[in-house]
């Protein structure tokens, strides 16, 4: 299945994704909390960006007591049914990654729904750090990358020694 995945080696923390997501949330819910988060740790000069992984065995889905979360048959995304959601917050507690939040205005859960299959965060990622595709693609890119990185590191080490 396709998910939004983050290639952290490419993310420059411009926050376009988070802004665009919050604009979309505001269009549909009058709440502008985003469902993709860019974290910049200035103590360690580190960047970490993450969003819902649409887990195959989704703890949020299992934890929901009200049928407020369902799996979209078309996109396979776990989506919130705003009418059924109680706002109990069980899914927030169940998500191991903190990828669900509670809307401030509506008091219902809010999470990434892949924008129905055309995620806007990906569209605004100028660095091409965000991709919409099969998670296996990410893994493949990672494999390729780590091999290359080892080679680059070796070159840098040689340079430093010379």
């Amino acid at each position: 299945m396709n998910i939004v995945y983050v290639d952290l080696d490419r993310c420059v923390a411009c926050r376009n994704c988070q802004l665009e997501c919050s604009f979309r949330q505001a269009e549909i819910t009058r709440d502008d909390g985003a469902n993709i988060w860019v974290q910049v740790d200035l103590d360690h000069r580190a960047i970490f960006t993450s969003t819902c992984l649409q887990c195959e065995t989704a703890p949020c889905l299992a934890a929901c007591p009200a049928g407020g979360l369902t799996r979209d048959p078309a996109t396979r995304a776990v989506v919130v049914d705003r009418n059924a959601c109680l706002g109990c917050g069980m899914c927030l507690l169940a998500c191991p990654f903190g990828h669900i939040h509670l809307e401030q205005a509506g008091r219902v859960a809010s999470k990434c729904d892949l924008c129905g299959g055309d995620p806007r965060c990906v569209r605004v990622c100028m660095a091409q750090a965000l991709h919409f595709g099969d998670v296996e693609e990410l893994a493949e890119a990672r494999r390729e990358r780590s091999g290359r990185r080892l080679a680059v590191r070796a070159t840098h080490r040689e340079e430093a020694a010379s």
Binding site: C14, M126, Q128
Partner: protein, 686 residues
């Protein structure tokens, strides 16, 4: 609601985004005659199917409820009343004619801003003012861009601001925040980084791009030139620069080699605060990664009185690093064979020298424009050289020029101020007449992207009855002043046909290729095979031209104290002009969803400084400089985010203009730039 007539009732129109100068490919979606969405065009090499959130704001601007849709005339009680198009132009032309008859054409000036676009729009304005017989063309470029443009042109005669970063082994960013200012750079940076390229970021403010760098250096504002000279010294000392290049192409190497001697890493540390070891590390990275070095000088380098020299030094460093003639470095793009709407040389021959040419001859001679800060003085002048009338095209100097109180006073004294814009900006509110401005969606215009040597036709997407395109305004005004022969084309399409003539292209050719036509093959080594457009035809590390004008032959470093002696009255340093991601200078503050992200003006401060001043986050402070004072909230940032002793304030807030604090009378002697970054400041708790 605006009376919009899209070119199609349903479908997509392919064009270029002009919300900034990156010119990304976009598709505008039209549904039921409504502009519904803007999505990235799939095959533009710059944005490659992605688009920053500012692009979509073109629709917010287009449909904005506050948009001016009819000419406005200021009434004696200060309110504006809508008037008809013909009445507006008749009255403006009548008053212009009277001023020209009484005081001569130079009493009229034109001022271009970035609000409506670039290139072709600038051509119309330059052409109009020349037709009128006045040399007084001004622009926003005289407080941004021209410093870098001159710095590059003085050394090697060209400037391509868009190198191929993805082909670099080392990228050095000085005073630039590309994730906000140049979004298309990001893909190239990421490609380079993933390939193993190194990144060095030099900026008093730690932006996220600095978190991504191998080396981040946080200099004292205004001392970048000391660091650059230190790096020049290290590269020369390493003896790993290209001797053959220096022998064949360079004028003045010995002079810069001798001058560089004093810039030891320890001296650089004492001047800039960047540790000597960090200076050595950066020097080492340059030497190891030459010649594939991309050095990008951002606006941070030009916004102070030593700006042009700093940029010149950065170009010299690039040359010594072997960047000349390489895609990742300095290359000289070719221009397409287009007819010109205005030649800068003719402009100068016709009607004498523009205002400011006596003080800043380089700006007038090379950029072909007057000095906008001197123009403000000329408006306040009571003598025979008073500037009496100004035609402002989508510029907002009442917010974005330094010393805004003086600017507002000057604009208020004009006998005729005409402003064309989308909204009643603080500048437009001072106007006698306001003309509704067309957004880029309403115009057909040519664009040239020098990086790809591509020519584009960006077609009109929508027409709005009653809002003139840029061309129509100047054509109709010129016609009423008896200058119709200067604007003989009936519409923009005819103008474009005229522009395309020398190159033999047709509108159909360009329409058939919305992805653009490459007008000449890229020859990155052109600058090594043809004489350069400098006085000597070579790379001018030393400039006889500047020396003859009594200016610095080589780009000497001067510390900020050389421009304004250090004073205990102003113990801290103010930097302005760092961008916000969704705002564009003074624009877009009226888009609600953007405003929620950037709700209010805040001065950013280091926690140590806040502690010393007894300030808590959100406290109200008064900032005081030699130029003025401003009351604003304080935001205490992370200790790593800003250099201690430095306060940062965004420059585009209408309600809290940083330009109350900036200094218009302390200028770069070459570009005439004001002091916008590194201004001595005092903070008072209130």
């Amino acid at each position: 609601m605006i009376r919009a007539v899209p070119v199609l009732p349903d479908g997509r129109v392919r064009t270029l985004c002009r919300m900034c100068d990156s010119r990304c490919g976009i598709e505008v979606h039209i549904r039921n005659s409504v502009l519904a969405d803007i999505t990235p065009a799939p095959d533009n090499p710059g944005n490659q199917g992605r688009l920053c959130p500012r692009a979509h704001a073109a629709l917010d601007l287009f449909y904005h409820p506050d948009r001016i849709q009819t000419p406005l005339k200021r009434t004696p009680n200060g309110a504006f009343e809508p008037i008809g198009w013909d009445q507006a132009l008749d009255e403006i032309a009548g008053r212009l004619k009277a001023i020209v008859d009484q005081s001569g054409p130079p009493a009229v000036g034109a001022w271009k801003g970035e609000g409506v676009g670039f290139f072709q729009q600038e051509g119309y304005i330059r052409r109009f003012i020349r037709a009128l017989g006045s040399p007084n063309y001004f622009s926003n470029d005289s407080v941004c861009f021209n410093g870098r443009w001159l710095g590059h042109h003085l050394v090697n005669g060209f400037w391509n601001p868009f190198p191929y970063f993805d082909q670099a082994d080392l990228i050095l960013l000085f005073g630039s925040n590309p994730p906000v200012c140049h979004p298309p750079f990001l893909r190239e940076f990421a490609d380079a980084r993933v390939r193993g390229a190194r990144l060095v970021v030099v900026d008093p403010k730690l932006n996220p791009i600095g978190c991504w760098a191998d080396v981040y250096a946080q200099p004292r504002p205004g001392t970048d030139a000391a660091l650059i000279w230190g790096l020049i010294r290290l590269v020369i000392e390493s003896d790993r620069y290209d001797h053959d290049f220096v022998d064949r192409y360079v004028v003045g190497f010995e002079k810069i080699a001798a001058y560089a001697q004093r810039f030891t890493p320890e001296y650089v540390e004492a001047e800039s605060g960047v540790w000597a070891d960090v200076v050595r590390t950066i020097g080492d990275l340059i030497v190891r990664n030459r010649p594939r070095v991309s050095l990008y000088a951002g606006a941070g380098l030009e916004h102070h009185p030593g700006g042009v020299n700093t940029v010149r030094a950065s170009v010299i460093l690039s040359c010594l690093a072997g960047a000349m003639g390489r895609p990742s470095g300095l290359f000289w793009p070719e221009s397409p064979r287009l007819a010109s709407l205005d030649s800068r040389n003719l402009f100068l021959e016709n009607g004498g020298r523009p205002i400011g040419a006596d003080r800043f001859p380089v700006l007038a001679q090379m950029a072909g424009e007057g000095h906008s800060l001197s123009a403000v003085n000329a408006m306040l002048d009571s003598g025979e050289h008073r500037l009496r009338s100004l035609l402002v095209m989508a510029a907002n100097p009442a917010v974005t020029n330094p010393n805004v109180l003086k600017v507002r006073e000057a604009l208020s004294r004009l006998d005729l101020l005409v402003v064309s814009d989308f909204f009643l900006t603080p500048t437009a509110r001072l106007a006698h007449y306001v003309i509704p401005g067309a957004t880029f969606l309403e115009r057909t215009e040519l664009h040239v992207h020098p990086k790809y040597q591509t020519l584009y036709l960006a077609p009109q997407v929508v027409r709005v009855d009653g809002i003139p395109t840029g061309y129509e305004l100047w054509r109709d005004l010129a016609g009423r002043l008896g200058l119709a022969e200067w604007f003989p084309w009936p519409d923009e399409t005819a103008v474009i046909r005229h522009l395309l003539e020398p190159g033999g292209w047709t509108i159909d050719d360009l329409t058939a290729h919305p992805e653009g036509i490459q007008y000449a093959p890229l020859r990155f080594d052109r600058c090594l095979n043809e004489p350069l457009p400098t006085p000597s035809g070579k790379v001018e590390f030393a400039s006889q031209y500047l020396k003859n004008l009594g200016l610095d032959e080589i780009p000497e470093y001067r510390p900020p104290e050389a421009f304004l002696p250090a004073s205990p009255e102003f113990p801290l340093t103010l930097i302005t002009g760092a961008r916000k991601s969704l705002l564009y200078h003074s624009r877009h503050g009226n888009i609600d969803r953007f405003r929620r992200v950037h709700p209010k003006a805040e001065a950013e401060m280091h926690p140590d400084d806040a502690r010393n001043l007894g300030l808590e986050n959100g406290d109200t402070i008064r900032l005081v400089t030699a130029g003025g004072a401003l009351i604003v909230a304080v935001r205490i940032v992370h200790a790593a985010e800003i250099r201690p002793g430095v306060i940062e304030l965004y420059h585009g807030w209408e309600e809290a203009p940083a330009n109350l604090l900036t200094l218009d009378e302390v200028n770069d002697p070459i570009s005439g730039f004001p002091w916008l970054k590194g201004v001595p400041v005092r903070v008072e708790k209130i």
